[in-house]
Symmetry: C2
Subunit: 473 residues, 2 copies
């Protein structure tokens, strides 16, 4: 396999493009790299610029003015000057060019299509690899490469290969507050040189990457891609969202990345055959990735459900069974155990457990641990019933106490534990912040946390499907 | 139909129960009534109490010590003294008793079952109606009756009849930040006297109630209930969530409200036959109720989709079509219209529209209005792409400008408009508050707003299903 160190660990990066306006692409890349702690040398290149860009880095009028080598160029220039820039890159002997510039092949204009081809061919002929065009490029926290301010500096096990940078932002936005961390995110746009299959092959052998996720609108070479996907899925969990599943979606994909979406039926079959997990939305992807990232393997699908309130016990049981989990009733020996250990309320313990029926936190704590550790259950589903509890005196403390219990449950059972912490939109911002803290306590303790019980259950079910069906138990 | 004014508009309420502890049920009811601006006379009754409860209201040692009549009693006493309290209620000639007390019939203990029967029979024999036992009772903002601090004082068109108060809290918690407002919420627990059918019949003719929603675990008299449901659904939109759809859920329902859940198959068929809309979760219910509450009738299912970013155009189109909406391509005349009005970017306009391709807000504004008003489209789906936009300078202002556009679109098209405003969990609390404000701007302008594009689309699809299939276009 080809080493992509020159892509993911460049020693020097030059961002080429207009520096006018705080939101111009070139200025954003420079500020983001600085902000992400990029460890190599960073340069701005702009014909019309002053010597320094906002204290970020030195600015030069052309690539050749940069003293010393440049490994990686980010091209934020109009399409009309891309060819000139390609020549400069060749003269400077750069190793890779990320072409941010769009409105090329995806416009379906034959002239622009040819321009894109010519530029990429010219660079390739001189041994320079190309990311894009029409994309945001690479995020790798370890080397301080990024394309979004909110992407964390902390690294993690998940790689996301995406034909849409918007979806990459969306995925991170849905996951980072709950502990989703990435080895790499690659937004590769039109994929004219380096494409989905090249990156997928790389990620399959990438030691930083334990879980691979993909957003794909279309592939260049279906046969080669499926072969790569099969090899990837044999080695690591692979989660795929196919964009352009519908007629209108496929039409949008063509405008977006010049992709031919292919028929959804063949995708469904192919993904199942190679053992990749298909998801229908970025939200579902974020939720499943968190389960894959945090949870230990599940031994089965029998759930112990810890929640508060009678309606909750019904809803949670219904949702578990709708998603293919089983919620077993308590066995006779477990019933007796509860009556022995909790003479007053032991007879009220069921599965799901209604926290509110047990009277106090100590009883709930004991019940939760007994249930979760029991051999009758493989996984644990927990709800904090946030809105209800916030209506009480010291509601936030009560929620924190429940989270204490759930964390203890995870430590003592060593089973997969998912927790729902709803973040209501009507509360004061101080309460909101406190709930975010509880969320962080959960994932930092190794629990997978979700904003609703249903999402927790659905993600857990997808996780079990992976271990059960895909990995063969 | 029986008048239930004595239930929903009592002139005097007495809360009977221990006043020890700020979270004791009796103290909570008293504080909540005070907080909700209850307009009638409010009394506390407790054997062991001082003259006044926290400045809320006077306290008496028994019902008979209260000067003047008492219409409505909230009983928060242990089961063992319920019968004595029933006698006091009879002596005092109260009109209705809400029995908060639980652990009666739902325990399956024959003795407690009999006790519940005897108490209810005794009260009924003297013309007193009973709400419960084992429930939170009534919320009616108009009269200041409530059972949760966060329930709004503002009134609204939606009634929720629920065998679970937890689910009532959950529904309100999911909806009030997005404008969901209630005429009444009725938590009726075991429904031993007044049951689901009595309340449903009442709500069908209740002028305050324009939309009826139900959470049902089981019904007392299936035939009578279905007849009432058919009459209700012929008159108003009726949304039903059936709890205990699964085996484990049905088991939980029996422990919760002594309900026999019945087979789900017969519920599915019955609900479809009478024209009620079934939902699978409280979240789905909240989302659909908001659509029913805010949106004008839809003339069809052809969606104009306004969003930002290429991946978004693909995902939103896929989601629309997965939920049964249609996302038509632009007609030739509309294409020409865009090229006339926007010489520079008009050729980039598609459906879905990619905001980011249009360059500036003015172009997006014009495009959105042209699309939304066009006869080719029946409904409008809008995404603010919050996470992406927040990464830019003045991101919040950009989001506000998009919301401006969406509000104008609604005003000028008079079509149903749904908006997605994602509330990320990783942002500063000030940004979170600002997004909540944008959310409020939307619903106050008559748009239905959702925390994700998928939920917006799903709710809109349910709303169209209602107008198309249930109401017959």
């Amino acid at each position: 396999m080809e080493s992509f160190d020159f892509l993911f660990d460049p020693q020097s990066v030059a961002v080429v493009g207009s520096l006018r306006g705080i939101d111009s692409p070139a200025v954003r890349y420079l500020r983001q790299y600085k902000n992400a702690g990029f460890k190599g040398k960073l340069y701005a290149v702009s014909r019309k610029s002053t010597e320094h860009i906002e204290g970020v880095c030195p600015c030069h009028q052309s690539l050749k003015d940069i003293p010393g080598p440049v490994d990686y160029v980010i091209a934020c220039v109009p399409a009309t000057v891309l060819m000139d820039l390609a020549d400069e890159c060749i003269d400077k002997q750069v190793k890779a060019v990320h072409i941010f510039t769009g409105r090329l092949r995806e416009t379906s204009d034959p002239q622009l299509e040819r321009l894109e081809q010519d530029i990429v061919r010219r660079l390739r002929a001189c041994g320079i690899r190309v990311v894009g065009p029409n994309c945001m490029g690479i995020y790798r926290p370890e080397s301080g490469m990024t394309f979004r301010f909110e992407f964390p500096r902390e690294t993690g096990p998940v790689a996301f290969l995406s034909q849409s940078a918007g979806n990459a932002g969306h995925l991170a936005g849905l996951g980072i507050g709950r502990g989703l961390r990435f080895s790499k995110i690659i937004s590769y746009g039109n994929g004219t040189d380096l494409n989905e299959t090249d990156f997928l092959e790389y990620l399959t052998d990438d030691a930083e990457t334990k879980i691979i996720s993909l957003y794909i609108e279309g592939v260049r070479d279906g046969r080669r891609f499926l072969k790569a996907l099969a090899r990837a899925a044999a080695k690591k969990p692979v989660v795929v969202m196919k964009g352009g599943r519908s007629e209108a979606g496929a039409r949008a994909a063509t405008s977006h990345t010049a992709s031919l979406a292919g028929s959804q039926l063949s995708w469904d079959v192919a993904l199942r055959q190679v053992g990749a997990i298909q998801v229908e939305s970025i939200e579902e992807m974020a939720d499943l990735l968190l389960a894959l990232m945090f949870l230990p393997p599940a031994q089965g699908k029998r759930a112990a459900v810890l929640c508060g309130g009678g309606g909750d016990t019904v809803s949670s049981a219904d949702q578990c069974e709708a998603h293919g989990l089983v919620v077993p009733a308590l066995s006779q020996d477990l019933r007796e155990e509860f009556q022995r250990q909790l003479p007053e309320v032991g007879s009220l313990v069921n599965n799901p457990v209604d926290y509110s029926a047990l009277g106090d936190q100590a009883a709930f704590d004991l019940t939760s641990k007994l249930l979760a550790r029991h051999r009758d259950f493989d996984v644990v589903v927990c709800d904090t019933q946030v809105v209800w509890r916030l209506g009480y005196h010291n509601g936030l403390d009560r929620i924190a106490a429940m989270v204490d219990t759930f964390i203890k449950v995870e430590k003592s059972s060593l089973k997969p534990v998912v927790v729902a912490i709803h973040l209501p939109d009507f509360i004061e911002s101080a309460a909101w912040s406190a709930l975010i803290d509880q969320q962080a306590r959960c994932w930092r303790a190794g629990l997978a946390v979700y904003p609703s019980l249903e999402r927790a259950i659905k993600a857990l079910a997808g996780f079990i499907y992976y271990h059960d069906v895909v990995r063969g138990g």
